[in-house]
Symmetry: D2
Subunit: 290 residues, 4 copies
C-alpha cells in the first residue's frame, strides 16, 4: 500500500520502519529532520509537508498531544477535503480532541480511525504492539494489513473513533495505578527493613509476572529512573486525560486523583524529568525514607 | 517427615493433602470435623487437639485471623515449652501479632517461622503456591522439603518472622489495588458505551496477562461476584492489615486509604458477602451506573 | 462616579443596585433584559451593548465563567484601546484566564483589576461582601469608594490581578472542604443513631458558629437542598478551578481531589441541580444511609 | 456537692479548679503529684488512689486514652460495686471503649455518663467549654449543676453514653479537616507568591471568624507550631478514632483517610511533636515549598 506517516518520534519512527520493511511505500513527515533521514536510508520517502504525506491508501499520524493534533488537523488544510486516504490516528488524544477530530474529518468527508497502541518503542520496533481501534468497520478492514505489520493483535471497540481513545486512557490509568501500588508496597516493606530489591522480584514473580510490572518494579527496586522510558510529566498528562474523561461523563476516579497528587508532588520536588516510575520516590519521601 | 497441620480450611486442607501425598506422616487438627474425615481417607491422622498436632519435625498452622492465632498460640499451652518442633505459621497475621508470636515462641524455646503463601485454594491443591518465608535460616533449611511439596518457589526475606508477614501484606495491597484499578477503568469505559466485556479482555491481554488480573477482570466484566472466591469482608481485613502496618511505621498509603473506603462503601451497600472484586460495583454506583 | 456594570445576574444585580443607591451614575449591560429593567426603575441606565457600558471612571464586570469572560474581553472590541476606564473584574476566573485578561488589558493600555468577592446575593444586597483585590495600587485607590459601597472590607493581595483570583479560589476550596467535612461527620453520627438535626447544631454552636457552617450544616441536617443557593454543578467548577490552579504550579491538593470525586458522584446520581451542600447525600449514600 | 476528679492533666486540672471555686468538695487523684499539690492550695483534697476519689455525688474522669481508661475502670476494683456515685467520663474514648465501659458500669450497678468537652485548656479555665453528654437523663439532671460550672452550654445526644463519644469524635474530625483545608489553601496561594500571612487573615475574617480557624490559620500563616497546643501524635489518635468509628459501622470517610496519611507523613518527617496544625508543613513540602 501507499502510506503516509506524520510524526516520527520514537514510536512513529519504529512503526514507519516496520511498514517500510513490509514493502509498503511510505511517505514520511515530521518537523524534526534527523529521524526522517534515518528512515530514508531504510527506503522511506521524505515528504515536504504534512499535507504531502497525507495521501495514498492511508496515513498514520502519531503526534505527541492534543495541541499538536489540533494544530495539524483542525486548523489548516488537513484533512484534505474529499480525500479517500484513511486517516489512522495512533496518538493518545483526549476524548474531547478525538470527538472534534472525528467531526472535522466527517465534515471534510475523510475516513477517520483512532488506533491506539500499547507498547514502548522497543515493542513498536519488534512489531509487538497491541492495537485498539475504533471507527468505521470497512475502513478498518481495509487497513488491517497495516495493523498486522505494526502489532501482534488488533482489537475493535466500536464505530466511534473516540472509543479507542477512551480504552487507551483507561488502560494507561491501570498502568499508572500499578506503579503507585508498587511504590507504596515498596515504601512499606522498606520501613520494616526489607530491601525493595528483595521484596519486589518475589511479588512480581509470584503474582504480576508481566513486562509492565517487571519493568517498573525493577526500576523502583533499584531506584533507577534515568534515563526515562516515559517522562513523568507525560505520565501526568495521561492521568489528566483519565480525569478529564471521567469528568466529562461524571465518573469519580479516586485512584486517578491520588495519582494526580503523586505526580504533582514528584514534579514539585524535582522529579518531573525522570521516568514516571519515580512517583515511587514520593511514596518513600512521605514515609520519611531517604 | 512427621508433620502437624493445625487449621484445615480450604487452604490448609489442600496443603495437608499434598504433604500426605508426598509421603509425610501428617497429624491434623481443626475444630471442624468434616475436612479432617476427608483427609483421613487420604492417609492423614486426626489429632484430638491442637496440642496433639503440635509435634514431630514441624507443625504448619493456617488459622483465619489474629484472634484465632492468639487464641491458639498466645493464651494456652502452645507452643509446648522446649519443643523442637518447628512451627511454620502460614497464615496472614498482622505485624503486631507476628511479633507477639515470635516473642512467645522465643520465651518457650520453640523455633518459629512465618511462611506466607500467595495463591488460591486451587493453586494450593496444584502445589503452585508462592511461599515467602522469614525466620532462622537453619530452621528454614530443615523444612525446605515441606515447602518444596507445597509450592513452586520459596523466597526468604529475613531472619525476623514478621518480615514474611509484611511482605505478604504488601503484596495483598498490590492485588487489592489491581482490583480497584480494574473497577475504575471499567466504570470509565462503560460510561462511554464500551462494554466492560469488550474492554477488559483487551487490556488484560495487552498489558496484564496474569491470573490475578485475568480472574478479577473476568469477574468484573461479567459482574459475577458469587460465590465469592475471597470474601469482600476478608478483603477489608487485608487492607486493614496494610493500613495498620503502615501506621505502625508511619507510612502513608493513599491507595490503601481509598481501598478502605471502597470496601466500607461495598459493605454498607450490601456487597460484603460477595467476592472482594465486588468493590467494582461501588465504582460503578458512584458513576451512576446500574 | 460614572460606572459601568457588565453582567447583572444575582450578584451583579445586587451590587449594581447598591452603586445606584449610593448616587453613582450606573450604565448597565446584560444579554438578559429582565434584571436591566428592574435596575432601570431604581435609577440605572441601560446600555445597548457591553461596549457602551465600558466607560466612565470604572466598569465592573461580573460574568459567570471563563468562557463568558473570554468572549466579552478577549475576542472582540473590548477593552477599548487606550480607555482610561478602570476595569474591575469581580468574577471568579481561572488563574489562566485572569493572566490572559491582564495581558490583554495591558496590550490595550486599559487599567485592569481583579476584585473577587465572598458572600451570597443576600450579602451583596446588604453591602456586606468581603472583597479581595489585586492590581495596580493607584487604580485600586481610585475605585476604593466603589468597594466601600459594595462590601464591608477590602483586602489587597498584590500587584498582579490574578492573585485576587488565586485567593478567591483558595477560599472557595476551604468552603467546599467545610461542606464535605460536615457531610462526613453527619453520616458518621447518623449511623450511630444520632440525628444530624441533633448533632450539627451542637457542633456548629460549639466550634463553627459562622454563616458558612451554620448555613450548610442546617441544609445538611434537614436534607434541604432545593432551591439551590449555589448550584452543585457550579461547585464542581470551583473545585476544578482549585485543581487547575494547583496543577499549574504543582500543588497537590488531596482534599480538592476528594471533593472532585464527591461532586462527580453527586452529579452522576442526579443531584447536580441541587445546592452544592448536597454532596452530603453522597457521603450518606456511600455509608448505606437512606 | 461532693465530687471526685480522676486525672488532672491540663484539662482536668482546669475543670477541677472551677469546681473547687464554685464551692464543691473536690477529691483529686492523679498518678502525677505536682498538679495535685497546686489544686490542694486552691482548696482541693488529695485522694490516695483513684478508688478513694471515686465517691460522693459524682466523679469526673479525664484520662488521656483508651488504655488508661481500661486500666482504671475495666481491670480492677473500679467502678465500686453498687456505688451510687455518678461516673462522668469526660475523656475522648473510642466508641468500642465507651461501649465496654458502659457495660462494665451496668454490671456493677454504677451510673455512667459520657460528657465530652470541646475547648482547649484556656477555655476550660474560663469555664467556656461546650459539653456534649449522653446517658441516663435523670443522672444527667442530677449533675447538671456541675456541667453549669464547667462549661457554657450542655447538649444531650441520647441515652447511650457512647453517643457523646461519637459526637465528640465527629466534631474533632471536622476540626482536623479545617486544619488540612487551611494547609492546602496556604500551600496554593504561596506557590502563587501570596504570603500565607496575607491570605489567611483575609479569608478567616471573611468566612471563618471563629477561634478554631483563627488559631490554626495564625499558626500556619506564621509557621509557628511549637510549643504544641495539641500534639500532632494526639491528632493522629483522634483521626484514628474517627476511622475506627466509621469502620465499625461501615461509613467511608475520605477526608479522614487523607488526614491519616497527612499525619503519618508529618510524623515520618519529624513533625510528630509539634502542634497538629503542622500537618500544613506536609502540604507545603509536597508542593515543593521550603
Amino acid at each position: 500500500m501507499e502510506v503516509g506517516v506524520i510524526g516520527v518520534g520514537r514510536m512513529g519512527q519504529a512503526m514507519a520502519r516496520n511498514l517500510i520493511k513490509a514493502g509498503h511505500t511510505v511517505h514520511l513527515y515530521d518537523p524534526v529532520v534527523a529521524p526522517l533521514r534515518a528512515l530514508e536510508k531504510d527506503g522511506g520517502r521524505i515528504a515536504a509537508s504534512a499535507a504531502e504525506a497525507f495521501r495514498g491508501d492511508a496515513v498514520i499520524s502519531m503526534l505527541p498531544n492534543d495541541d499538536a493534533m489540533r494544530g495539524a488537523f483542525m486548523a489548516g488544510d488537513l484533512p484534505p477535503q474529499g480525500s479517500k486516504t484513511i486517516h489512522i490516528n495512533c496518538a493518545t488524544a483526549s476524548v474531547a480532541c478525538a470527538q472534534d477530530l472525528t467531526a472535522r474529518h466527517k465534515e471534510r468527508g475523510v475516513p477517520y480511525l483512532a488506533a491506539c497502541v500499547w507498547g514502548r518503542p522497543d515493542a513498536a520496533a519488534a512489531a509487538k504492539l497491541s492495537i485498539v481501534v475504533a471507527g468505521d468497520g470497512r475502513a478498518i478492514d481495509k487497513v488491517q494489513p497495516l495493523f498486522d505489520v505494526l502489532g501482534q493483535r488488533t482489537s475493535r471497540v466500536g464505530d466511534e473513533p473516540y472509543k479507542a481513545n477512551v480504552a487507551k486512557i483507561a488502560g494507561n490509568l491501570m498502568v499508572a495505578a500499578a506503579i503507585e501500588a508498587i511504590g507504596e508496597a515498596a515504601a512499606l516493606v522498606r520501613k520494616y527493613g526489607i530491601p525493595a530489591t528483595d521484596f519486589l522480584p518475589i511479588v512480581v514473580k509470584a503474582l504480576f509476572d508481566v513486562p509492565v510490572y517487571r519493568g517498573y518494579a525493577d526500576a523502583i527496586a533499584k531506584g533507577e529512573y534515568e534515563p526515562p522510558g516515559f517522562d513523568l510529566v507525560l505520565g501526568l498528562k495521561d492521568v489528566r486525560l483519565a480525569l478529564a474523561a471521567g469528568e466529562k461523563m461524571n465518573v469519580p476516579l479516586p485512584f486517578a486523583s491520588v495519582l494526580r497528587d503523586a505526580f504533582l508532588d514528584a514534579i514539585a520536588n524535582g522529579d518531573g524529568n525522570k521516568d514516571w516510575a519515580a512517583i515511587a520516590l514520593g511514596a518513600a519521601r512521605r514515609a520519611g525514607l531517604d
